[in-house]
Protein backbone atom coordinates (compact mmCIF):
# COMPACT_ATOMS: atom_id res chain seq x y z
CA UNK A 1 0.00 0.00 0.00
CA UNK A 2 1.25 3.43 -0.85
CA UNK A 3 2.42 5.42 2.13
CA UNK A 4 2.69 9.14 2.74
CA UNK A 5 4.02 11.38 5.49
CA UNK A 6 3.75 14.72 7.22
CA UNK A 7 6.93 16.14 8.72
CA UNK A 8 7.81 18.92 11.09
CA UNK A 9 11.44 19.98 11.12
CA UNK A 10 12.98 22.36 13.62
CA UNK A 11 16.03 23.82 11.91
CA UNK A 12 17.11 26.76 14.02
CA UNK A 13 16.45 27.98 17.56
CA UNK A 14 17.88 31.32 18.66
CA UNK A 15 19.96 31.48 15.47
CA UNK A 16 21.74 28.22 16.23
CA UNK A 17 21.38 25.16 14.08
CA UNK A 18 19.35 22.48 15.88
CA UNK A 19 20.64 18.97 16.09
CA UNK A 20 18.80 16.11 17.75
CA UNK A 21 22.10 15.02 19.31
CA UNK A 22 22.59 18.21 21.23
CA UNK A 23 19.57 20.41 21.93
CA UNK A 24 19.14 23.43 24.18
CA UNK A 25 16.30 23.48 26.72
CA UNK A 26 14.20 25.91 24.72
CA UNK A 27 14.70 24.04 21.44
CA UNK A 28 13.73 20.76 23.09
CA UNK A 29 10.68 22.29 24.80
CA UNK A 30 9.45 23.77 21.57
CA UNK A 31 10.14 20.62 19.56
CA UNK A 32 8.36 18.42 22.10
CA UNK A 33 5.35 20.73 22.22
CA UNK A 34 5.05 20.78 18.44
CA UNK A 35 5.63 17.04 18.12
CA UNK A 36 3.02 16.36 20.79
CA UNK A 37 0.52 18.60 19.00
CA UNK A 38 1.18 16.78 15.72
CA UNK A 39 0.64 13.45 17.50
CA UNK A 40 -2.66 14.68 18.95
CA UNK A 41 -3.96 15.86 15.58
CA UNK A 42 -2.91 12.77 13.64
CA UNK A 43 -4.08 10.46 16.43
CA UNK A 44 -7.52 12.02 16.37
CA UNK A 45 -7.89 11.23 12.66
CA UNK A 46 -6.53 7.71 12.53
CA UNK A 47 -5.04 5.18 14.93
CA UNK A 48 -3.41 3.30 12.10
CA UNK A 49 -0.43 5.59 11.78
CA UNK A 50 3.15 5.64 13.02
CA UNK A 51 5.65 8.25 14.04
CA UNK A 52 9.36 8.74 13.69
CA UNK A 53 11.83 11.19 15.10
CA UNK A 54 15.08 11.55 13.25
CA UNK A 55 18.25 13.52 12.95
CA UNK A 56 19.22 16.20 10.52
CA UNK A 57 17.96 19.19 12.49
CA UNK A 58 15.15 17.75 14.62
CA UNK A 59 12.47 16.08 12.57
CA UNK A 60 9.22 14.50 13.72
CA UNK A 61 7.15 12.67 11.14
CA UNK A 62 3.83 10.93 11.06
CA UNK A 63 3.45 8.33 8.35
CA UNK A 64 0.70 6.00 7.27
CA UNK A 65 -1.38 5.06 4.28
CA UNK A 66 -1.90 7.72 1.67
CA UNK A 67 -5.58 7.95 2.63
CA UNK A 68 -4.89 8.47 6.31
CA UNK A 69 -2.20 11.09 5.78
CA UNK A 70 -4.32 12.93 3.20
CA UNK A 71 -7.11 12.90 5.78
CA UNK A 72 -4.81 14.33 8.44
CA UNK A 73 -3.65 17.01 6.05
CA UNK A 74 -7.25 17.71 5.04
CA UNK A 75 -8.23 18.28 8.67
CA UNK A 76 -5.28 20.63 9.13
CA UNK A 77 -6.15 22.59 6.00
CA UNK A 78 -9.76 22.83 7.13
CA UNK A 79 -8.57 24.34 10.43
CA UNK A 80 -6.24 26.78 8.65
CA UNK A 81 -9.24 27.99 6.65
CA UNK A 82 -11.32 28.43 9.82
CA UNK A 83 -13.68 25.63 8.74
CA UNK A 84 -12.90 23.07 11.42
CA UNK A 85 -15.28 22.37 14.28
CA UNK A 86 -12.88 19.90 15.86
CA UNK A 87 -11.48 21.01 19.20
CA UNK A 88 -8.47 18.69 19.15
CA UNK A 89 -7.35 19.73 15.67
CA UNK A 90 -7.84 23.46 16.22
CA UNK A 91 -6.28 23.68 19.68
CA UNK A 92 -3.24 21.62 18.71
CA UNK A 93 -2.76 23.39 15.41
CA UNK A 94 -2.93 26.68 17.29
CA UNK A 95 -0.07 25.40 19.46
CA UNK A 96 1.95 24.53 16.33
CA UNK A 97 1.11 27.92 14.83
CA UNK A 98 2.43 29.65 17.95
CA UNK A 99 5.83 27.98 17.55
CA UNK A 100 5.99 28.48 13.80
CA UNK A 101 5.23 32.17 14.27
CA UNK A 102 7.81 32.65 17.02
CA UNK A 103 10.83 34.23 15.39
CA UNK A 104 13.18 32.48 17.77
CA UNK A 105 12.51 29.20 15.92
CA UNK A 106 12.70 28.25 12.30
CA UNK A 107 10.36 25.41 11.46
CA UNK A 108 9.48 23.60 8.28
CA UNK A 109 6.21 21.74 7.98
CA UNK A 110 6.04 19.36 5.03
CA UNK A 111 3.27 17.33 3.48
CA UNK A 112 4.28 15.01 0.66
CA UNK A 113 7.58 16.90 0.56
CA UNK A 114 5.85 20.25 -0.03
CA UNK A 115 6.37 23.00 2.52
CA UNK A 116 3.24 24.44 4.02
CA UNK A 117 4.52 26.19 7.14
CA UNK A 118 3.83 29.55 5.49
CA UNK A 119 0.16 28.70 5.23
CA UNK A 120 0.05 28.10 8.97
CA UNK A 121 2.17 31.14 9.75
CA UNK A 122 -0.07 33.42 7.75
CA UNK A 123 -3.38 31.95 8.84
CA UNK A 124 -5.47 34.00 11.24
CA UNK A 125 -5.60 32.73 14.80
CA UNK A 126 -6.89 29.20 14.39
CA UNK A 127 -10.17 28.78 16.20
CA UNK A 128 -12.93 26.24 16.23
CA UNK A 129 -15.85 26.96 13.98
CA UNK A 130 -19.19 26.76 15.68
CA UNK A 131 -21.36 24.23 13.97
CA UNK A 132 -24.79 25.35 12.83
CA UNK A 133 -26.98 22.70 14.29
CA UNK A 134 -25.57 22.94 17.73
CA UNK A 135 -27.34 22.55 21.00
CA UNK A 136 -27.29 25.34 23.50
CA UNK A 137 -26.54 24.69 27.13
CA UNK A 138 -27.89 26.83 29.90
CA UNK A 139 -27.95 26.59 33.63
CA UNK A 140 -31.15 27.10 35.47
CA UNK A 141 -32.81 26.51 38.81
CA UNK A 142 -36.02 24.46 38.83
CA UNK A 143 -38.34 24.26 41.80
CA UNK A 144 -41.21 21.84 42.18
CA UNK A 145 -42.94 18.98 43.89
CA UNK A 146 -40.66 16.00 43.68
CA UNK A 147 -42.61 12.77 43.55
CA UNK A 148 -40.73 10.22 41.51
CA UNK A 149 -37.20 9.04 40.91
CA UNK A 150 -35.81 5.86 39.40
CA UNK A 151 -35.61 3.85 36.22
CA UNK A 152 -32.82 2.05 34.41
CA UNK A 153 -31.72 5.31 32.86
CA UNK A 154 -32.52 7.22 36.00
CA UNK A 155 -34.49 10.41 35.95
CA UNK A 156 -36.87 12.28 38.19
CA UNK A 157 -39.93 14.47 37.80
CA UNK A 158 -41.18 17.74 39.03
CA UNK A 159 -44.94 17.51 38.98
CA UNK A 160 -46.80 20.78 38.48
CA UNK A 161 -50.29 19.23 38.43
CA UNK A 162 -52.74 19.08 35.51
CA UNK A 163 -50.42 16.65 33.77
CA UNK A 164 -47.65 19.24 33.59
CA UNK A 165 -44.30 17.88 34.53
CA UNK A 166 -40.61 18.28 33.83
CA UNK A 167 -38.29 15.28 33.55
CA UNK A 168 -34.69 15.64 34.64
CA UNK A 169 -31.98 13.13 33.79
CA UNK A 170 -29.59 12.05 36.52
CA UNK A 171 -27.12 9.28 37.30
CA UNK A 172 -27.53 6.46 39.80
CA UNK A 173 -25.59 8.00 42.73
CA UNK A 174 -27.62 11.18 42.25
CA UNK A 175 -30.87 9.17 42.13
CA UNK A 176 -29.97 7.48 45.42
CA UNK A 177 -29.17 10.82 47.01
CA UNK A 178 -32.39 12.34 45.67
CA UNK A 179 -34.59 9.68 47.24
CA UNK A 180 -34.43 11.37 50.60
CA UNK A 181 -36.27 14.37 49.13
CA UNK A 182 -39.28 12.39 47.84
CA UNK A 183 -42.68 14.06 48.28
CA UNK A 184 -41.18 17.43 49.12
CA UNK A 185 -40.88 20.74 47.36
CA UNK A 186 -37.25 21.11 46.35
CA UNK A 187 -35.05 23.24 44.10
CA UNK A 188 -32.37 21.89 41.83
CA UNK A 189 -29.62 23.42 39.78
CA UNK A 190 -29.94 21.81 36.36
CA UNK A 191 -28.42 22.09 32.94
CA UNK A 192 -30.88 22.70 30.15
CA UNK A 193 -29.79 21.41 26.76
CA UNK A 194 -31.91 22.58 23.88
CA UNK A 195 -31.90 23.23 20.20
CA UNK A 196 -32.62 26.90 19.39
CA UNK A 197 -34.53 25.76 16.30
CA UNK A 198 -36.79 23.39 18.18
CA UNK A 199 -37.97 24.30 21.67
CA UNK A 200 -39.51 20.83 22.11
CA UNK A 201 -36.09 19.31 21.82
CA UNK A 202 -35.05 20.08 25.38
CA UNK A 203 -33.34 17.87 27.96
CA UNK A 204 -32.58 18.69 31.57
CA UNK A 205 -29.63 17.25 33.48
CA UNK A 206 -29.42 17.25 37.24
CA UNK A 207 -26.50 19.13 38.80
CA UNK A 208 -27.33 19.48 42.49
CA UNK A 209 -30.11 19.90 45.01
CA UNK A 210 -30.00 23.36 46.53
CA UNK A 211 -31.55 24.68 49.68
CA UNK A 212 -34.24 27.36 49.70
CA UNK A 213 -31.84 29.98 50.97
CA UNK A 214 -29.42 29.15 48.16
CA UNK A 215 -31.85 29.57 45.28
CA UNK A 216 -31.30 33.29 44.98
CA UNK A 217 -27.53 33.22 44.60
CA UNK A 218 -27.66 30.22 42.24
CA UNK A 219 -30.39 31.76 40.06
CA UNK A 220 -28.28 34.86 39.65
CA UNK A 221 -25.09 32.88 39.06
CA UNK A 222 -26.81 30.71 36.44
CA UNK A 223 -28.19 33.75 34.60
CA UNK A 224 -24.84 35.51 34.68
CA UNK A 225 -22.90 32.48 33.44
CA UNK A 226 -25.41 31.90 30.64
CA UNK A 227 -24.97 35.45 29.48
CA UNK A 228 -21.27 35.41 28.69
CA UNK A 229 -18.71 33.25 26.93
CA UNK A 230 -15.85 35.62 27.69
CA UNK A 231 -13.37 33.72 29.84
CA UNK A 232 -12.27 36.69 31.94
CA UNK A 233 -15.86 37.71 32.62
CA UNK A 234 -16.73 34.16 33.63
CA UNK A 235 -13.79 33.96 36.04
CA UNK A 236 -14.94 37.26 37.51
CA UNK A 237 -18.39 35.75 38.06
CA UNK A 238 -16.84 32.93 40.03
CA UNK A 239 -15.05 35.39 42.29
CA UNK A 240 -18.21 37.48 42.66
CA UNK A 241 -20.14 34.35 43.54
CA UNK A 242 -17.85 33.52 46.43
CA UNK A 243 -17.56 37.15 47.50
CA UNK A 244 -21.33 37.55 47.80
CA UNK A 245 -22.00 34.09 49.17
CA UNK A 246 -23.36 33.99 52.70
CA UNK A 247 -22.41 30.36 53.32
CA UNK A 248 -19.37 30.08 51.16
CA UNK A 249 -18.33 26.49 51.90
CA UNK A 250 -21.79 25.13 51.21
CA UNK A 251 -22.23 27.20 48.04
CA UNK A 252 -18.78 26.40 46.65
CA UNK A 253 -19.22 22.71 47.41
CA UNK A 254 -22.10 22.69 44.93
CA UNK A 255 -19.95 24.25 42.21
CA UNK A 256 -17.26 21.65 42.88
CA UNK A 257 -19.77 18.80 42.74
CA UNK A 258 -21.07 19.72 39.28
CA UNK A 259 -18.15 21.60 37.72
CA UNK A 260 -18.47 19.53 34.55
CA UNK A 261 -21.87 21.08 33.81
CA UNK A 262 -20.78 24.60 34.69
CA UNK A 263 -17.35 25.22 33.27
CA UNK A 264 -15.57 24.59 30.01
CA UNK A 265 -12.21 26.25 30.36
CA UNK A 266 -9.29 24.95 32.41
CA UNK A 267 -8.86 28.46 33.86
CA UNK A 268 -12.37 28.30 35.33
CA UNK A 269 -11.51 25.00 36.99
CA UNK A 270 -8.24 26.42 38.29
CA UNK A 271 -10.11 29.39 39.77
CA UNK A 272 -12.52 27.01 41.49
CA UNK A 273 -9.50 25.20 42.95
CA UNK A 274 -8.04 28.49 44.18
CA UNK A 275 -11.35 29.45 45.78
CA UNK A 276 -11.69 26.15 47.60
CA UNK A 277 -8.07 25.58 48.57
CA UNK A 278 -8.50 26.76 52.13
CA UNK A 279 -11.47 24.41 52.57
CA UNK A 280 -9.79 21.39 51.06
CA UNK A 281 -10.10 19.36 54.26
CA UNK A 282 -13.70 20.34 54.93
CA UNK A 283 -15.89 17.21 54.70
CA UNK A 284 -18.38 19.03 52.45
CA UNK A 285 -15.67 19.70 49.88
CA UNK A 286 -12.77 17.28 50.40
CA UNK A 287 -13.73 14.28 48.24
CA UNK A 288 -15.30 16.27 45.43
CA UNK A 289 -12.30 18.57 45.29
CA UNK A 290 -9.89 15.65 45.05
CA UNK A 291 -11.88 14.36 42.09
CA UNK A 292 -11.75 17.81 40.53
CA UNK A 293 -7.96 17.94 40.97
CA UNK A 294 -7.58 14.60 39.18
CA UNK A 295 -9.77 15.79 36.32
CA UNK A 296 -7.87 19.09 36.22
CA UNK A 297 -4.54 17.29 35.91
CA UNK A 298 -5.83 15.07 33.12
CA UNK A 299 -7.07 18.13 31.25
CA UNK A 300 -3.80 20.01 31.77
CA UNK A 301 -1.90 17.20 30.09
CA UNK A 302 -4.37 16.97 27.24
CA UNK A 303 -4.54 20.56 26.05
Amino acid sequence: METEKLEIILEYANNSYVNLDNMSIEALESFLAVTNALKNIAGSVSTDINFSIKKGSACAAVFGTKTDIYNVYGRIEEAINGESDDDIVTSNLREIQKHIKNEVYKYQFKFANENFDNKIREAKKIVKKRSKNFYKHELTVLTGYFNEVGGNDPNYHFDYGNGLKTTIECDIPQALELREYLYQNISCLVQKKYSPDDENNTTYYHCAVIKNEQTRIFRKFAEDLNSTTDLFARIDLLYDFSEYSKSVIEDLSILVSCYNYLFQDINELKTLLILTKNFKDNPLIKDKREKLIKEFEVLMNKI
Binding site: E26, K98, F232, Y239, I266, E268, T271, L273, I274, I303
Partner: protein, 220 residues
Protein backbone atom coordinates in the same frame (compact mmCIF):
# COMPACT_ATOMS: atom_id res chain seq x y z
CA UNK B 1 23.13 34.63 31.91
CA UNK B 2 20.95 32.26 29.99
CA UNK B 3 17.26 32.55 30.96
CA UNK B 4 17.49 35.79 32.96
CA UNK B 5 16.03 38.41 30.70
CA UNK B 6 16.06 42.18 30.80
CA UNK B 7 12.31 42.61 30.72
CA UNK B 8 11.81 45.67 28.53
CA UNK B 9 14.62 45.37 26.03
CA UNK B 10 15.19 41.64 25.56
CA UNK B 11 12.93 39.09 23.96
CA UNK B 12 12.16 36.02 26.05
CA UNK B 13 11.92 32.56 24.59
CA UNK B 14 8.21 32.21 25.36
CA UNK B 15 5.47 34.49 24.07
CA UNK B 16 3.44 34.24 27.24
CA UNK B 17 4.63 33.62 30.76
CA UNK B 18 4.59 34.38 34.46
CA UNK B 19 8.02 35.31 35.78
CA UNK B 20 9.78 36.34 38.96
CA UNK B 21 11.03 39.87 38.43
CA UNK B 22 13.49 42.13 40.17
CA UNK B 23 14.34 45.79 39.84
CA UNK B 24 18.12 46.01 39.75
CA UNK B 25 20.05 49.07 40.91
CA UNK B 26 22.01 51.27 38.53
CA UNK B 27 23.41 54.81 38.85
CA UNK B 28 19.87 56.13 39.58
CA UNK B 29 19.72 54.14 42.82
CA UNK B 30 22.81 55.25 44.76
CA UNK B 31 21.93 53.48 48.01
CA UNK B 32 22.78 50.07 46.51
CA UNK B 33 25.89 49.08 44.59
CA UNK B 34 25.32 48.62 40.88
CA UNK B 35 23.61 45.39 39.88
CA UNK B 36 21.84 44.70 43.19
CA UNK B 37 18.25 43.40 42.99
CA UNK B 38 16.39 45.72 45.37
CA UNK B 39 12.70 45.14 44.60
CA UNK B 40 10.72 41.98 43.83
CA UNK B 41 7.78 41.74 41.54
CA UNK B 42 5.83 39.40 39.33
CA UNK B 43 6.04 39.88 35.58
CA UNK B 44 3.27 38.59 33.35
CA UNK B 45 3.25 38.51 29.58
CA UNK B 46 -0.07 37.73 27.98
CA UNK B 47 -1.25 38.39 24.44
CA UNK B 48 1.78 40.56 23.61
CA UNK B 49 1.33 42.75 26.65
CA UNK B 50 3.70 42.94 29.63
CA UNK B 51 2.39 43.59 33.15
CA UNK B 52 4.04 43.99 36.50
CA UNK B 53 2.29 43.06 39.71
CA UNK B 54 3.93 44.17 42.91
CA UNK B 55 3.67 45.58 46.40
CA UNK B 56 5.47 48.89 46.47
CA UNK B 57 5.72 48.99 50.27
CA UNK B 58 4.50 52.57 50.03
CA UNK B 59 1.31 53.07 52.10
CA UNK B 60 -0.31 55.34 49.51
CA UNK B 61 0.68 53.36 46.38
CA UNK B 62 0.12 49.91 47.89
CA UNK B 63 -0.19 47.19 45.27
CA UNK B 64 0.10 47.98 41.57
CA UNK B 65 -0.83 46.04 38.46
CA UNK B 66 0.29 48.02 35.43
CA UNK B 67 2.58 48.28 32.41
CA UNK B 68 5.09 50.85 33.66
CA UNK B 69 7.95 48.45 34.21
CA UNK B 70 11.29 49.98 35.15
CA UNK B 71 13.93 49.95 32.40
CA UNK B 72 16.33 48.03 34.66
CA UNK B 73 13.95 45.20 35.49
CA UNK B 74 15.12 41.61 34.98
CA UNK B 75 13.05 38.47 35.16
CA UNK B 76 13.23 34.70 35.13
CA UNK B 77 10.22 32.72 33.91
CA UNK B 78 8.84 30.40 36.57
CA UNK B 79 7.60 27.07 35.28
CA UNK B 80 5.55 26.61 38.43
CA UNK B 81 2.74 28.46 36.65
CA UNK B 82 1.66 26.85 33.42
CA UNK B 83 1.14 29.29 30.57
CA UNK B 84 -2.29 27.77 29.95
CA UNK B 85 -3.37 29.17 33.32
CA UNK B 86 -2.33 32.79 32.80
CA UNK B 87 -5.95 34.04 32.54
CA UNK B 88 -6.74 32.50 35.95
CA UNK B 89 -3.53 33.99 37.34
CA UNK B 90 -4.30 37.48 36.03
CA UNK B 91 -7.81 37.36 37.47
CA UNK B 92 -6.47 36.30 40.84
CA UNK B 93 -4.03 39.23 40.77
CA UNK B 94 -6.93 41.58 40.02
CA UNK B 95 -8.87 40.33 43.05
CA UNK B 96 -5.81 40.75 45.25
CA UNK B 97 -5.39 44.26 43.88
CA UNK B 98 -8.98 44.98 44.83
CA UNK B 99 -9.15 43.42 48.29
CA UNK B 100 -5.67 43.07 49.76
CA UNK B 101 -4.24 45.50 52.25
CA UNK B 102 -0.63 44.62 53.07
CA UNK B 103 1.60 46.54 55.45
CA UNK B 104 5.36 46.60 55.33
CA UNK B 105 7.62 44.45 57.47
CA UNK B 106 10.29 41.75 57.29
CA UNK B 107 7.99 38.83 57.93
CA UNK B 108 6.82 35.72 56.15
CA UNK B 109 5.56 32.51 57.68
CA UNK B 110 3.57 30.69 55.02
CA UNK B 111 0.75 33.20 54.57
CA UNK B 112 -1.07 33.45 51.25
CA UNK B 113 -3.77 35.32 49.37
CA UNK B 114 -6.92 33.34 49.63
CA UNK B 115 -10.45 33.35 48.29
CA UNK B 116 -11.34 36.75 46.75
CA UNK B 117 -7.86 38.16 47.27
CA UNK B 118 -8.28 38.43 51.00
CA UNK B 119 -5.33 37.43 53.12
CA UNK B 120 -4.97 34.18 55.00
CA UNK B 121 -2.69 33.94 58.01
CA UNK B 122 -2.76 31.57 60.95
CA UNK B 123 -0.04 33.57 62.70
CA UNK B 124 -0.24 36.76 64.76
CA UNK B 125 1.71 38.70 62.13
CA UNK B 126 -1.24 38.90 59.70
CA UNK B 127 -0.83 40.73 56.39
CA UNK B 128 2.64 42.14 57.05
CA UNK B 129 5.27 41.59 54.36
CA UNK B 130 8.05 42.84 52.11
CA UNK B 131 7.84 43.09 48.33
CA UNK B 132 9.30 39.57 48.06
CA UNK B 133 6.94 38.35 50.75
CA UNK B 134 4.06 39.72 48.70
CA UNK B 135 5.17 37.68 45.68
CA UNK B 136 5.33 34.58 47.91
CA UNK B 137 1.81 35.27 49.20
CA UNK B 138 0.56 35.54 45.62
CA UNK B 139 2.37 32.44 44.35
CA UNK B 140 1.22 30.31 47.26
CA UNK B 141 -2.34 31.54 46.75
CA UNK B 142 -2.27 30.27 43.19
CA UNK B 143 -0.42 27.01 43.69
CA UNK B 144 -1.74 23.90 45.42
CA UNK B 145 1.41 23.64 47.55
CA UNK B 146 3.92 25.99 49.17
CA UNK B 147 6.16 27.79 46.70
CA UNK B 148 9.14 27.90 49.03
CA UNK B 149 10.30 26.11 52.18
CA UNK B 150 10.17 29.33 54.16
CA UNK B 151 11.34 27.63 57.37
CA UNK B 152 14.77 27.21 55.72
CA UNK B 153 15.17 30.94 56.35
CA UNK B 154 15.43 31.98 59.99
CA UNK B 155 15.51 35.38 61.65
CA UNK B 156 19.28 35.62 61.12
CA UNK B 157 18.49 36.34 57.45
CA UNK B 158 17.42 39.81 58.54
CA UNK B 159 20.02 41.37 60.77
CA UNK B 160 18.91 44.87 61.51
CA UNK B 161 19.70 45.63 65.11
CA UNK B 162 16.66 45.63 67.40
CA UNK B 163 14.29 45.46 64.40
CA UNK B 164 11.94 42.95 65.95
CA UNK B 165 12.02 44.55 69.41
CA UNK B 166 11.35 48.03 68.02
CA UNK B 167 8.66 46.74 65.67
CA UNK B 168 6.77 45.15 68.55
CA UNK B 169 7.29 48.05 70.96
CA UNK B 170 5.88 50.64 68.56
CA UNK B 171 2.76 48.56 67.89
CA UNK B 172 2.29 47.04 71.33
CA UNK B 173 2.73 43.50 69.97
CA UNK B 174 3.94 40.45 71.83
CA UNK B 175 7.41 39.60 70.53
CA UNK B 176 6.93 35.91 71.40
CA UNK B 177 4.07 35.66 68.94
CA UNK B 178 5.77 37.62 66.19
CA UNK B 179 9.32 36.31 66.15
CA UNK B 180 8.28 33.03 64.48
CA UNK B 181 7.38 35.06 61.38
CA UNK B 182 10.53 37.21 61.29
CA UNK B 183 12.81 36.50 58.32
CA UNK B 184 13.98 38.02 55.08
CA UNK B 185 13.81 36.32 51.70
CA UNK B 186 15.57 38.80 49.45
CA UNK B 187 14.76 39.87 45.87
CA UNK B 188 17.98 38.16 44.74
CA UNK B 189 16.90 34.92 46.41
CA UNK B 190 13.41 35.10 44.97
CA UNK B 191 14.77 35.74 41.47
CA UNK B 192 17.09 32.74 41.85
CA UNK B 193 14.16 30.56 42.90
CA UNK B 194 12.81 31.01 39.37
CA UNK B 195 15.14 28.26 38.16
CA UNK B 196 13.17 25.58 39.96
CA UNK B 197 9.83 24.15 39.00
CA UNK B 198 9.38 21.44 41.64
CA UNK B 199 7.81 23.03 44.67
CA UNK B 200 8.37 23.74 47.47
CA UNK B 201 11.80 25.17 46.66
CA UNK B 202 14.48 24.88 49.33
CA UNK B 203 17.03 27.47 50.46
CA UNK B 204 19.80 25.10 49.44
CA UNK B 205 18.49 25.13 45.86
CA UNK B 206 18.19 28.91 45.89
CA UNK B 207 21.69 29.32 47.36
CA UNK B 208 23.21 27.21 44.61
CA UNK B 209 21.99 29.73 42.00
CA UNK B 210 22.60 32.99 43.84
CA UNK B 211 26.28 33.37 42.97
CA UNK B 212 25.84 33.08 39.23
CA UNK B 213 22.71 35.27 39.20
CA UNK B 214 24.50 37.94 41.22
CA UNK B 215 27.56 37.83 38.95
CA UNK B 216 25.41 38.11 35.87
CA UNK B 217 23.57 41.18 37.15
CA UNK B 218 26.73 42.91 38.41
CA UNK B 219 28.46 42.42 35.09
CA UNK B 220 25.49 43.11 32.84
Amino acid sequence: MFEIIKTISEQDIKDEFVAIGAYVSDSRIPQFSNGTPYHSLIIIKYQDELFQFHYTGDPTLGILLDNSIDSNCFHKITDTIDIKLIPAFIMMCKRILKNANPKYGYFYSGEFYDIDGTHFSDKAIGERMTCSGFCLNVLKGFLEDDYIVYTDWDSSTHQLENYLQDFCNIRGLNINEIEISHRRISPLELLSSGYYSNIPITKEQVDSKIGSVEDYLKNY
